[in-house]
Symmetry: D3
Subunit: 251 residues, 6 copies
Amino acid sequence: MRLPVSTWPDIEAWLTKSKTIVIPIGSFEQHGPNGFIGTDALCPEIIANHAESLAPDDILIGPTFAVGCAQHHLGFPGTVTLRPSTMIASMVDWTESLMRHGFERLYWLNGHGGNIATIEAAFSEIHARRSFDPRGADNRPGLTLKRRDWWDFRDVMSTVNQLYPTGHGSHATASEVSVTYWGYPERERSSTKMTPKIAPTGTIGDAVQYRRDFPDGRIGSDPTQSNIEDGGKIVAVAAKCVLEEVARFSA
Amino acid sequence: MRLPVSTWPDIEAWLTKSKTIVIPIGSFEQHGPNGFIGTDALCPEIIANHAESLAPDDILIGPTFAVGCAQHHLGFPGTVTLRPSTMIASMVDWTESLMRHGFERLYWLNGHGGNIATIEAAFSEIHARRSFDPRGADNRPGLTLKRRDWWDFRDVMSTVNQLYPTGHGSHATASEVSVTYWGYPERERSSTKMTPKIAPTGTIGDAVQYRRDFPDGRIGSDPTQSNIEDGGKIVAVAAKCVLEEVARFSA
Amino acid sequence: MRLPVSTWPDIEAWLTKSKTIVIPIGSFEQHGPNGFIGTDALCPEIIANHAESLAPDDILIGPTFAVGCAQHHLGFPGTVTLRPSTMIASMVDWTESLMRHGFERLYWLNGHGGNIATIEAAFSEIHARRSFDPRGADNRPGLTLKRRDWWDFRDVMSTVNQLYPTGHGSHATASEVSVTYWGYPERERSSTKMTPKIAPTGTIGDAVQYRRDFPDGRIGSDPTQSNIEDGGKIVAVAAKCVLEEVARFSA
Amino acid sequence: MRLPVSTWPDIEAWLTKSKTIVIPIGSFEQHGPNGFIGTDALCPEIIANHAESLAPDDILIGPTFAVGCAQHHLGFPGTVTLRPSTMIASMVDWTESLMRHGFERLYWLNGHGGNIATIEAAFSEIHARRSFDPRGADNRPGLTLKRRDWWDFRDVMSTVNQLYPTGHGSHATASEVSVTYWGYPERERSSTKMTPKIAPTGTIGDAVQYRRDFPDGRIGSDPTQSNIEDGGKIVAVAAKCVLEEVARFSA
Amino acid sequence: MRLPVSTWPDIEAWLTKSKTIVIPIGSFEQHGPNGFIGTDALCPEIIANHAESLAPDDILIGPTFAVGCAQHHLGFPGTVTLRPSTMIASMVDWTESLMRHGFERLYWLNGHGGNIATIEAAFSEIHARRSFDPRGADNRPGLTLKRRDWWDFRDVMSTVNQLYPTGHGSHATASEVSVTYWGYPERERSSTKMTPKIAPTGTIGDAVQYRRDFPDGRIGSDPTQSNIEDGGKIVAVAAKCVLEEVARFSA
Amino acid sequence: MRLPVSTWPDIEAWLTKSKTIVIPIGSFEQHGPNGFIGTDALCPEIIANHAESLAPDDILIGPTFAVGCAQHHLGFPGTVTLRPSTMIASMVDWTESLMRHGFERLYWLNGHGGNIATIEAAFSEIHARRSFDPRGADNRPGLTLKRRDWWDFRDVMSTVNQLYPTGHGSHATASEVSVTYWGYPERERSSTKMTPKIAPTGTIGDAVQYRRDFPDGRIGSDPTQSNIEDGGKIVAVAAKCVLEEVARFSA
């Protein structure tokens, strides 16, 4: 089931059989010369929706938390970021909303490495409210918060390693660009040229430093390798991993 | 151009000819027995994207600000809300991100009446930062923030009045449900039954009071009238209005 | 009864018969060449206190929330503003204080158009706390928050239209200046000259833009028409409207 | 000059000769059986306005910051408080507003002992913004923030000690009640009975503890001694002290 | 007992006999040419730990709240400060943590005059949470918050006056420097020269003003008088005072 | 050099040759039956101070950021935590203080796994301020923020693996307890008994869940193996690693 295009009676019915919801969470930030700005939000959304299409009765996909932590990309037009403190406040509000309805297991399917720290900090902020106030702890509903980076399943990694033995990289990666091409085939940009073929690597600070060190936005990647077909393979594997893990998570 | 599926060089090029961006802004909240929870986010997104498909070189559509102010709907499962203070902080971050790139004219295409106050408060918060600090005011970039509720164009209203002379309502309206059916025809729910045919009206407070006074979530509406074809008509009119107004706004 | 000059036993007694309080809410901002900076706070205070003098046993007037949202007037000396986020936090604290005592119906008599959005956002922030936490909803006290702009009663509007068929305007209006002259007759400034007679109109952004577009601070008004006698008429009508509406609101 | 009933050109003219403004700052909280809830806001306002009436060209009185830190009085109906963090945010906004116009010397005439800590913390918060950022320190305007508790002038204290050798107390004091009776003679309550004649003393914690330890709200005082005539004497002395100190402060 | 080097079962056992904890609270800021930057944190820590060594079963020393309000010293390298609003938030978190375990009496042993206002504001912020919500007040645990400035015991003051009849001063005082020399004898700096011998006095604003008016950081003091032996005397007296007062506080 | 026991002229001199500072950062939380509550703050402080004692001219140790993110341990008495949002605000203030003096390279030596996410989120918050405002980016000072978990050096890990081939664990580890015993030998608790010998493992949520799943506080560890001698070995290796890495970091 997809929450955005479901009705409230649908969700009320879902809650009679499951307390779990999957929330794609991403970022809006430059992804090099041929990657979409929305890449990090689109990837988990594409994968989650594909999983849902395979097993619509088994998984509930919530709204996508689309804009995350991308301050280091602000040197490139189109990037939109939240401050970490704003992102934490937003995730608190989302979570309290869902807890209000009876959800107890939130599975955040993450599409952005730069979100990891703030997502985990938000989890801690949310749990802290409960930890400070133990009243009624025996009777109150449970709460389990889990983050999964979509690229981090073992099967996804082995697929990606096979497809891109070199030049996969760590930002504007060959795999994530492929996933978005599969999701939006009419927007595919495979003919874009890049120099150098494989982008440099380095450390990340603020936006001025980032653009100076990574002039076209990529880190360590060669996304000229990206294509629709690869994207489809990756999505298929990732969606299967998500379904399996969410089933275990809900048990 | 659609920012989510564009690259940063695309946006850099756009900024050489325009300082304007359109941001759909909505809410995730119950919309009665046959309306989608995402209705208020989907409507402005559908309209904006349709406008863009008519004139892709003339308009830039940013990411959708999908979750807004919906505390009063929390009594219905699936609703997700930000506190107004969180929404203001988020809109500040979005706006500062876009100003960083050179955008000076932000046109927020709004899909939710309950967002109006907080959007305007956020505008005031954003302007206040500039107003407190007048240093360099002569040289600094301009900033114009505009909110447009998509249903509030004269042509849209006359279309809607023709289609739904009775039972249009003010929440889970016949028109907004139609727009989403046109956008997601495979999810259409026109056969849902409702009693009473036209929902009651009243005032809004907190979530407990809302669910007590509006038991199925609708206010004053009969969305059993909604259908795909009507949605297409409304979208066509609204998209045209948006294109015209954005052209004037950017001039 | 006027809270500022009442004792706590007075308020304790009031609460045995009513859960309603009226709070004048305004702004401190320039009001053109002959309007007082405190105009927007003084008008609702004058009207509320006049209503109280007519029926001291029927209405309780709280302290005036005097400084509101006026960032756009900061280009004119004397203007004092809160950021919207600060104003929301303050209104939350006022409301929680009053709820602590048993007040359940807060009627905010507003004197400033620029406050409207933030007042409504604050209402939403306050209700959100209750909406997130439905525990004990059946037993907990009610809470109704209402904003009334004093110029917006039908009888007030018709009086004003009769008095000022032209040049009433939308900032530093002829009517609000008259109300303050009636309240503070020794400070009357009716002989001030202005050019042009009727001020320009336009849109509002930050403080630098405002002072550029509205050089003497007025928008669309000719407050040289203002006088003490008119002020008295307007106050009489508005006070009567407030008494009637508050009686209905409390019922 | 009184800012609330002045125009912006008045303030612009004032700033050509002075950078100083006096801001009465108080609290809305119970003041025992015969003291007004607004006592702590009214006293500094009455004294400041009286000072202004003696020397209208020499002193500028700003709006009254009326609601302060009164959490410990919340057990008594009518008390309204800000959290200290809200009060700090509000004082930051007021100060930045006034600095925007060129004020460099803010003299806060305080009417509430419970405000002292938070006022000083707010001063530190305001200065911190400048201290973190020393850029342009040589050219930027100065900023001096001063708090004066009206009862703390030597001449005021000796007057009060003469008038009330016993039972002056520390909350709902004989002197502050007299000041408000002089300011609002038609509201005088001198015939109220209290038991015991002199209220107990003790330490202050939260609101529940306060009402338990101080059942009628007073601390150490016998305000049955209060009267209009005494109030007039105290105001005369205090106003003179304020005028003298503000003259030195502005030099 | 010292909490930092105790185990949780130790604290669990402590709570069966006492609800009191002592928290040293200080600041990290310049202390003139021969005073340590950590002086204000080290002094209460040294005194508290010495008290504990005299009566380890009678007192529990918590972690040191080491960084406080020092914005005015930022003109001198090494100073670290919190904004008052951050310090309040931190003290709220510390206090709620300790209340979670059953502590009801927190005794903050303060080492910095510049902390006083913010500590008291934090107490008010903490109590406000309880005051706004009186539910269950009869059954809920008590909470008493007390601040003690270590130099403010009568016996400490008389010792200090004997040791330093002139040049004790108010910042980088002779006594506090001696206390730290006793605590860290290997770091003693008694041979440092200073001009003038006794530093100037004045008022405090922001960091730029402070360094201009107090060029070597001291206010009114001659800490060339400081020495290890004096420090030992002061610590002995202060530790005794703390033990006595904490015993009364816990009773 | 150790900042807490240095003077401001010492730091001024240091800044003429280095822009680097090392800040131990930890947590105050239960560490099982024989580990100190301060373990996570003490370990990086002990290691940093030992490094400084080996090469006092080559490294500057700042104050210890002692209380971090420990909400999950609040079920055990003595634990003190900051909310992540408070910790971020505090780290922002510390960093801005140090940047004010000219520090450009902050090396946070971390002692707590639960801090990692929030430290990284704070780095992002700090950089965001610079990224939003690129004005003067060419001339402004650099800023490099680095986190190092002390146990994560390769040489430290191999030492620890040799010493504790089994039962090292992930909370209240054998190694960290040994480090604190070396630092505070008089507090050593090696004879404490525990059952089971090696603690269980699992996932972490809120405080109630944590204490239920890990009844004596340990995760996966057998700290009965801990002893002073092992602690000395670990500290020696870790201090050497810190010195080497800080030298590279500063280059």
